[in-house]
Symmetry: C2
Subunit: 329 residues, 2 copies
DNA sequence: TTGTATGCGTTATCAT
DNA sequence: ATGATAACGCATACAA
């Protein structure tokens, strides 16, 4: 017999078991209680199919065991994979995930953060490039890939080292003239590090390089134009290309094929991210692999960490090179 | 001035504005109230940076504006895309998304449903093949791609028609000997419909066909063996292959390349799902495209629909064919 | 060790 | 139209 028509409450369980409300609460939360009481309560719980109401619990204890995860979208396999691993880490610790897609729109990003606060989540893991993003005051926020200042811990991969590694691998594969291609908001400084690392690598190795850098709203055709301009006498001016993401690399390889430039024979291409086809098959291209799994683990660990002293301002995880068919080795 | 050290509450706003608690609630919820009161409240809200506490709200109103979405994983781009569109539809209606990944493990699926109930979500959209899945009694659940019976509305694409369309397209492209390849749990009857439709298509057109059907735990090598067995005198016994998913088609094409069988010259391949590289670029292969966007819209619309009469037991959405480089046309 | 009573922040009912 | 007050379901301090 229950109160009203809703689900059974602790009150119902207490009545059914013939004990007091507080006793039920204790049993449910694993707080020691006399054995006979415990048994009676457990029997009643089972009989009524009682489940605690997380909303009442959250209201009372102001702990919701929910983490908000904010990413641009799930359509890009890099973000999807990231969310996948974050989910796994959260689930392992008994946390649930509230998802937010923003399409990289600063307004949506801010909105998502507001929503998270209002939803009383226990923390936020956010992949945003919005420089003006206002972090909440009372809920811990971990940023992925963007450093907002010492107050907000950031987890990223070694973008600089990755850029340099790309240059090194191309040269090691026999390239003598390199190019760097990048698309994306100029606000995002992490991809800039990829460029800086690449430049550093080229200069360290004494290899000449060209660059083509455009913003998010530039049509892809701009790259086709760039490639055409550097195409003379049946061959390209460069024999190695580093693209800022696998996605761009994939497109570039397509364009090169149309131009009858052979990959990797005539020109070798390296991307960045290390995403695989269908998640676990081949790499789309030779690439600098981000340690997605470790990044996810770091994010979760840090967002749940109460001790601020244990939260470094910036965690930078190592990348590695993977061959994917667009380089010789 | 606030009570305690937490966030400001309606009480604080009421005190600040010099009005009663109920008045604040009305203003916040857009219920008409005298203009001067409204202004005072709004000023106080802004001044204190007040935000309603969704947990208190949810407790009281038992409406949380959260939908739980349960999928096997996000690593497979088909699921990721589905979640993406569901998210968009939910957000458009002011709903939030609690995400659940299950890895297709029946235990995790059940757990996810329990969690959703406990979390007092307003509804569940679930992609599960667990035949024994126990649906909750009080929270509406929409199933994707699996029909659990009339009590649980199901949204799926026209798998049968898709299978037939695949056969038709292969034949239209000049194929005269077809094969059907499938991997997956024998419990899942929707992919079986793809097979049935394919068989129906072949028989209607009077074209011979072979089939290779294995369960989830069979290593991929089994397909390689199958192809080898049907490889005589430098060519395959069939010139058209229908794979139950794009993912499988992608692998098969790889194997064919290794065997020096040319695609689409020697054999043409059609997959199923219609997922694109990086979400919006080329199709992985020629394919039967699921109307993911419409499916997402249907799911959301139905899960939020209060009127049971408006919830058909089974919604079946049309598929279409898309060329993706593994067929001639 | 068990039971009782209060309050978490809202909504909604009911007098005013 | 506005303001006081009682739930919502649970946790917990406190009393027994």
């Amino acid at each position: 017999m229950q109160t009203g028509n809703g689900n059974p409450t602790m009150k119902d369980v207490a009545r059914e078991a013939g004990v007091a409300l507080g006793t039920v609460s204790k049993v449910v939360n694993g707080i020691p209680v006399g054995e006979p009481y415990k048994e009676k309560v457990e029997a009643a719980v089972k009989k009524l199919n009682y489940r605690v109401n997380n909303y009442a619990k959250g209201l009372k204890s102001s702990q919701t065991y929910i983490i908000q995860v904010i990413v641009p979208n799930l359509v890009n396999p890099f973000f999807a994979t990231l969310v996948h691993y974050i989910y796994r880490e959260l689930a392992r610790r008994g946390y649930k995930m509230l998802l937010g897609e923003t399409d990289s729109d600063p307004e949506m990003e801010q909105e998502s953060v507001f929503l998270a606060e209002q939803q009383k989540v226990d923390g936020i893991i956010c992949l945003s490039y919005n420089p003006k993003l206002q972090a909440p005051e009372k809920v811990p926020l971990i940023s992925i890939d963007r450093y907002f200042g010492a107050r907000i811990p950031c987890v990223s991969c070694d973008n600089y080292g990755g850029g340099r590694l790309a240059a090194e691998m191309l040269v090691e594969n026999g390239c003598r003239n390199l190019a760097f291609l990048r698309i994306g908001s100029s606000l995002t400084n992490e991809p800039n590090k990829r460029k800086d690392g690449f430049v550093n690598g080229c200069e360290g190795l004494g290899v000449p390089y060209t660059m083509k850098i455009v913003d998010d709203y530039t049509p892809y055709a701009e790259f086709e134009k760039f490639l055409q301009e550097h195409y003379h006498g049946g061959k390209l001016d460069f024999d190695g290309i580093f693209c800022v993401t696998d996605s761009l690399a994939y497109q570039i390889v397509g364009t090169l094929k149309e131009m009858k430039v052979r990959v990797p024979e005539d020109v070798q291409v390296i991307g960045f991210d290390g995403i695989r086809q269908f998640g676990d098959m081949d790499y789309f291209c030779s690439t600098i692999v981000q340690p997605v799994e470790e990044m996810a683990e770091q994010c979760v660990q840090m967002v749940l960490e109460k001790d601020a002293a244990k939260k470094p301002a910036l965690v930078c995880l190592p990348v590695r090179y993977a061959k994917g068919g667009t380089t010789r080795v």
